[in-house]
């Protein structure tokens, strides 16, 4: 059995001693000699989610050569393999193209202010290191919402518990009326980061921004979109940004592929968003809007997203650059359904974004004048 648990761990499952013990107890309770019981004892105690079940089934079949009970297998898609992707991030770290004119210019100016404004795509290795540090230090406050919980406050509803206490202290006299009001809670932020080829120079910076945000405040969900949708929230919880990025590299199978924004947005909404993750959340999409798939689908899904979310913010590294117009097919299809369109090419732009996320979004206020007819 211990060997089997090792196989499971190698397959990426959290089969810790507590769970292992639970499995042994379960086996003890059931009939150990029957393969079916061994299967269920393991699956019920060791798995923690549908992804685990697929892994468990594979490991079970491999280790015991045992058959998996009929109807037990899930209709879910297979877990993506965890091998590819690391090389892509390595290239991100280092060698970009030969130094361009802008790059040399930026090197001379060691001034932090200039670096704050420098486009991520034009940085030298040294500057890249500095920028990483700056990204890790961004303040991340984030939007809030009212919760049902209350706390003592100067104004608000009368707090019966404390009124009663006060009355007792004063022998039954109502002298003061302590009040309570609803507390502010962090509003959920969902980040959808495009890691396709055209976004390559920016992907690392977006991931680092996502990491800072995830570490500094609760309720942040992070996904990468490229040729497929990958949830990387868990990987983002690593304390060290480099460790987090490494975990992401291992989890994301589609670095630098094409983008099928519409399809992946649909996958996000079907699997997560509709059920609650996007509800009332601030959803940030980081992409240049180069859509390879159907543009109509993207427009439909953006409309759907906007009905669920509190606000939709689109971050495009090319916004604000000379000659930018939201003409990329995907971008213009999405435009009518976006609350804010902001740039995301430099540390300063990210600082702006962090500030924007701390606002309470009101639908009417838009940063970008959006022609309604564009739909």
């Amino acid at each position: 059995m211990a060997g089997f648990v090792r196989t499971l761990r190698a397959a990426g499952m959290v089969a810790d001693t507590g769970r292992f013990e639970a499995m042994l107890r379960a086996l003890h309770t059931l009939d150990v000699r029957r393969g079916v019981d061994a299967y269920w004892a393991g699956r019920l105690t060791l798995c923690t989610g549908p992804e685990d079940i697929a892994r468990f089934d594979a490991a079970f079949a491999a280790y015991f050569g045992g058959e998996i009970p009929r109807n037990a297998a899930l209709g879910l898609q297979k877990t993506p393999s965890r091998v590819v992707g690391i090389t892509a991030l390595d290239t991100l770290d280092g060698e970009t193209d030969a130094p361009t004119e802008t790059q040399e210019l930026a090197t001379e100016a060691s001034d932090t202010d200039l670096l704050r404004q420098a486009d991520f795509a034009t940085l030298t290795d040294e500057q890249r290191e500095e920028v990483r540090r700056m990204l890790a230090q961004l303040a991340a406050v984030g939007p809030t919402r009212r919760s049902l919980r209350t706390e003592a406050a100067a104004r608000g509803d009368v707090d019966p518990r404390r009124v009663l206490r006060a009355m007792l202290r004063r022998g039954g006299e109502t002298v003061e009326l302590p009040r309570k009001s609803k507390r502010d809670r962090p509003r959920r932020i969902v980040l959808l980061l495009d890691v396709s080829g055209s976004m390559e120079p920016y992907a690392e910076a977006y991931l680092r921004f996502a990491h800072t945000l995830s570490r500094r405040r609760p309720a942040v969900e992070v996904f990468t979109i490229g040729t497929r949708l990958t949830r990387i929230t868990r990987a983002m919880s690593a304390r060290d940004p480099d460790a987090a990025l490494k975990a992401v590299a291992a989890a994301v199978p589609d670095w630098s592929g094409g983008t099928r924004l519409g399809e992946l947005l649909q996958a996000f909404l079907d699997r997560w968003g509709q059920r609650g993750m996007a509800r009332g959340a601030v959803v940030v999409i980081a992409s240049d809007g180069w859509e390879r798939g159907e543009v109509d689908l993207l427009a439909d899904q953006m409309a759907r997203l906007r009905r669920l979310a509190r606000a939709v913010v689109w971050v495009n590294p090319h916004v604000g650059k000379e000659g930018f117009a939201p003409t990329a097919a995907g971008m213009s299809a999405a435009l009518p359904h976006i609350d804010r369109l902001v740039s995301g090419h430099s540390v300063e732009a990210f600082a702006e974004l962090a500030k924007l996320l701390s606002e309470d979004f009101l639908r009417a206020a838009r940063l970008w004048p959006v022609p309604r007819s564009a739909a």
């Binding site: 309770t29 059931l30 269920w40 004892a41 009663l164 202290r169 039954g172 079907d270 059920r275 609650g276």
Partner: protein, 296 residues
């Protein structure tokens, strides 16, 4: 391991499955083993799966089977200890205070003791479950609650002891059977899952669905049950926003029966689509694809 009746009543999962069958819950080997282990090991059962696949129904079936009350805690964003554990009945406390005052001369210390008496305590689901156990405690849609609430719940589910500062501790030696459900809108914390047995519920296969329809709706003919189960299966393959669960196929069948339809044809399907599809986009998609494909 409690000495409650359910925990020792069944020798193996098959026996439990047969007993559940007796209260009209059709358990497949997976769910039967999960429930069996939860009873035997005294662990909460954590159920995940699409909405409407019968997560809550299992808790109801277990309660019915054991003849114990089902106590339900519905989770929502912002739920806190006061709404899950207990609260003081403020208006009644106030009346008592006034009455004591009118009677005259009660000293403050004694009055306070009287005010925080058990009769002024409002038991919310968790306290109720501990006080009335043996019982089945259903913690429904845990994924809607916040992280802090999960941590709090973990504590309660670990030792089934509740301490009330003004009153003392309340404890039970026969912990309730606990069923926790989640629709998976967010990841529930690992520490909580570690306390539980985990089971993922899928849509039932065709034969089981027919059987469930016939069992729950005695009026339904074999032909209609067969047709609805088939059509629901087709709908689940259509990539809809909300694929129908068992709950929807039951609603649909009930709607067809209410209209006096004896079989599912295109006309009957068109009139009752609202019972099974809950989004305009889904209705459009199915209508465009042709209702004929639902009928066999």
């Amino acid at each position: 391991m409690s000495d409650g009746t359910l925990a020792t009543q069944f020798a193996n999962p098959e026996e439990l499955a047969r007993a559940l069958d007796g209260v009209d819950y059709l358990a497949d080997p997976g769910i039967a083993t999960a429930a069996f282990l939860a009873l035997r090991l005294g662990r909460p059962l954590f159920l995940e799966g699409e909405a409407g696949v019968g997560k809550t129904a299992l808790a109801h079936a277990l309660a019915k089977l054991s003849g114990t009350p089902l106590i339900r805690l519905q989770c929502y964003e912002g739920i806190d200890a006061a709404q899950a554990l207990y609260d003081w009945d403020f208006p009644r406390q106030l009346l008592h205070l006034r009455a004591a005052e009118a009677a005259g001369g009660a000293d403050a210390a004694r009055l306070e003791g009287e005010l925080y008496d058990r009769r002024f305590l409002l038991a919310r689901p968790l306290l109720q479950a501990i006080e009335t156990s043996p019982a089945v405690l259903l913690v429904d849609e845990l994924d809607r609650a916040d992280d802090e609430f999960e941590a709090f719940l973990l504590e309660v589910l670990s030792d089934f002891t509740i301490s009330i500062p003004e009153l003392g501790t309340i404890h039970t030696d026969t912990p309730p059977v606990v069923v926790v459900t989640s629709n998976r809108t967010r990841e529930v914390h690992d520490a909580l899952k570690r306390r539980c047995l985990y089971h993922w519920l899928d849509h039932p296969p065709y034969e089981r669905e027919v059987e469930i329809l016939r069992r729950r709706l005695p009026d339904v003919t074999e032909e209609l049950a067969d047709q609805v189960a088939y059509a629901t299966g087709v709908l689940r393959e259509l990539n809809l926003l909300k694929p129908p669960g068992i709950a929807e196929s039951l609603d649909w069948t009930a709607a067809l029966l209410a209209l006096g339809a004896r079989r599912l044809d295109v006309d009957a399907a068109a009139r009752t689509l609202g019972a099974v599809l809950k989004y305009r986009e889904d209705t459009d998609r199915v209508t465009t694809a042709g209702l004929a494909q639902l009928v066999r």
